[in-house]
Symmetry: C2
Subunit: 505 residues, 2 copies
Amino acid sequence: MSDKAKKALAELTGRVKQVNLLGSCMALLGWDERTYMPFKGAANRAEQQSLLAGMAHEKFTSSETDDLLSEVEAGDLIKDRLSPDAVNVREIRRVYDKKVKVPKSLVEEISRTTTLSEQAWVEARKKSDFSMFAPWLTKMIDLKSQEAEAVGYKKEPYDALLDDYEPGETATNITRVFTELRRDLVPLVEAITHSTRRPNLSIIERDYPVDRQTILGKAASAAIGFDYDGGRMDVTTHPFCTTIGSGDVRITTRFNQRHFGQAFFGILHETGHGLYEQGLDPQYRGLPMGDAISLGIHESQSRMWENIVGRSKPFWEYFFPRVRQVFWEALSDVKLDDFYFAINDVKPSFIRVEADEATYNLHILLRFEIEHAIFNKEVKTEDIPALWNDKFQKYFGIKPPDDARGCLQDVHWGAGLIGYFPTYTLGNLYSAQFYAKATEDLGNLDEQFTRGKFDSLLVWLREKIHRHGQRYRAEELVKEVTGKPLSHSYLIEYLKEKYSPLYGI
Amino acid sequence: MSDKAKKALAELTGRVKQVNLLGSCMALLGWDERTYMPFKGAANRAEQQSLLAGMAHEKFTSSETDDLLSEVEAGDLIKDRLSPDAVNVREIRRVYDKKVKVPKSLVEEISRTTTLSEQAWVEARKKSDFSMFAPWLTKMIDLKSQEAEAVGYKKEPYDALLDDYEPGETATNITRVFTELRRDLVPLVEAITHSTRRPNLSIIERDYPVDRQTILGKAASAAIGFDYDGGRMDVTTHPFCTTIGSGDVRITTRFNQRHFGQAFFGILHETGHGLYEQGLDPQYRGLPMGDAISLGIHESQSRMWENIVGRSKPFWEYFFPRVRQVFWEALSDVKLDDFYFAINDVKPSFIRVEADEATYNLHILLRFEIEHAIFNKEVKTEDIPALWNDKFQKYFGIKPPDDARGCLQDVHWGAGLIGYFPTYTLGNLYSAQFYAKATEDLGNLDEQFTRGKFDSLLVWLREKIHRHGQRYRAEELVKEVTGKPLSHSYLIEYLKEKYSPLYGI
């Protein structure tokens, strides 16, 4: 019996590794498409991706996978639910069941609709005309509702969609934490808005030659621990981090010669993702135990390095003298305090992707509330613009001048990415809670940062988070690492402690 | 009947296109491996390649391919042997039969032996010790003999191996042409060697900054017709050209800051390959009708643009003033005639890959004669060094000082690439014969070149060669395009006409 289960497990993991190896080939095709591919290669690239995707899907969803899973599940190999074998089987089963539940015809219709809906969205945003996009959004919501029904859920359809990005998370739990966060964050942002202190932003909008930004960005990402022997950095339009396989993790960025921070903090952000990927256990590569837990946990790593570390005073006590040498023309007359204030400007703004680390979460709360209400049938498509603007006024104290700068700014809904938005703020919440625990365990890290030492934090993250792969669900991991359930208070505490002295509030 | 054959043909071509699409994914993996992959990614890359190679092999060599081929062959779709359908079926059949004839165990043993044999070769060359390499070479020759027997041949085993690179070509035909070539080329090189005129090579060994070489190299390849919207150029150690698919052809180069020509002519060479690939008919991409004929024909395109066009006086009448502006420090005191002479230096030398366009062919004749004699069992492994040196003395008038600069210099034999060498000189022969015909059809092209116009030559090559894919075998194509069978006389004529005035012979 046990031998049979062992054999089945070996076959199962071999199968899944092969599927993921095909996925890793697709990752390279995707990386190349967004970095170096000549534009006439697009049609061929789509064919390549679709061939490999089809092969991977076929192999994974074949009934043999199910048979092998059942054989292993019947044995006692998975008795210890946190053992690597049990974790692998649990997560393969979870994904398998979801994939076979959604009818092929629905998958194809969502895929077709996404293409058309995205095109409509581009046009609608250009003209700031919500009515052009509304029918597509309605259709997409209907299709995603069908998907949720097919997949199934315990409490509400939204949970089924959320599960794709944050396995095990629920709208109930998110609502609880986000409501508390909103209660504390709105007044904090309001206080900052009413402060008379404002940074001199022109400092970071001087001339920052791209070649020097490149060298500096790489040096900074290497300094916090990114291994360039097992990774690289390239230029793209929409920065991302991708893993081609063990020993091959790639980050990307884009440069703005007239802005210091866009590339620099973007690089730290992607480096955070990259460090997580480089910290996964290579012996489990291609299996759940060697894979990241969720988008939220991934984002907690990128946000920690970008914001909590990368925008901190100690970080800049170390880096600023170095950066000033590299950009002497731009920074020779600038003081550390002024630079530090400029890279930590907080103010209400309409566009999410340009928002600072404090107001960013208000953008997410608003989106979550709306998409959650939609899937609970409390809101109709045509009500979105008014609802958006009302909420915006309440949370930010300003009102979007048009829908292009309001509810039409993001591609997500039109692309069927429902349940994706909350992972951004979950990432911020996780990052603050993890970091609070790290300083509890390791002592105050500031002094180390001022000396350019970041390895004790990285070693802690590797041990507490990275090397576990998908052993824990996100909410379990938070409890396991910090001893407490997810709470909004760590992020609020972090923001207050940082911004009170800056804005004199 | 016809309907059945039609259906089978559609299925067959769909199948083969899918196999080639997998191959195109492997092409990207290979390109990335040699350009951008971080070195720790090597093990994962090997797994990716081996997975896709296995899938492609399995799909192609399955008995279904054979069944479909038989069904189509039984119908009348292939009655007209030059029709696209007939060409596709003929070439798929040819490759299929070869692949299934070689036992899997032999393929695997050749693959294993290649790895070990290449390692032994690296060491042997380093120490210039042929005896370290000899046992591996003997084993490889034995394995390749077994392969030749498995594949089968009409006249001699060597033909079976040659067929992998130059389908339909025979040792008999090559021997005929190469013997005539040797008869005329040896005295020509001797005459040049004895000339008292010598170019001033220091001109092209000045400081040529790499960033400017890059811009110039791209400009030159674009000027002769390479489409950078459907291609790119990157840096690598051993330059190559690869096709990722329709609209995506990539060339690579390496730069030497202290040598003008290495990158520049390397780029023209790879551009020649790239122009052939970009000229293939996209409607047949992934099928023999949309694929190159042979290594020799491919090389005829690269050599034509590199040497016949790229090292010609008219080409430099156009480019030299431009290049001088780019490299003003290096070239302001240099005259066109001296530059032209320097890039056309001809002299006997030991290393094939560094040889000029005239002596290069002597390197190939010598290698062909030896490998051909080996496979006819007229020569034993241990006799190679002495035979090599004797022939070298006869053809070049100099004797290699050691085996590292003699019979140990190339990786080919140790890697099992038997029958590969002759394609280099076949390429030179084809290129001269094609070019002679092109000037017959188009009139003297020199005047166009001096104005930087290269499109009438490219259009001619596209129409006469590129767009036909594998419709003709190489020898047929030569007859079809030039009206005559392959002859050594065009290359000799070209060399005499070019080098007589330069060397006063």
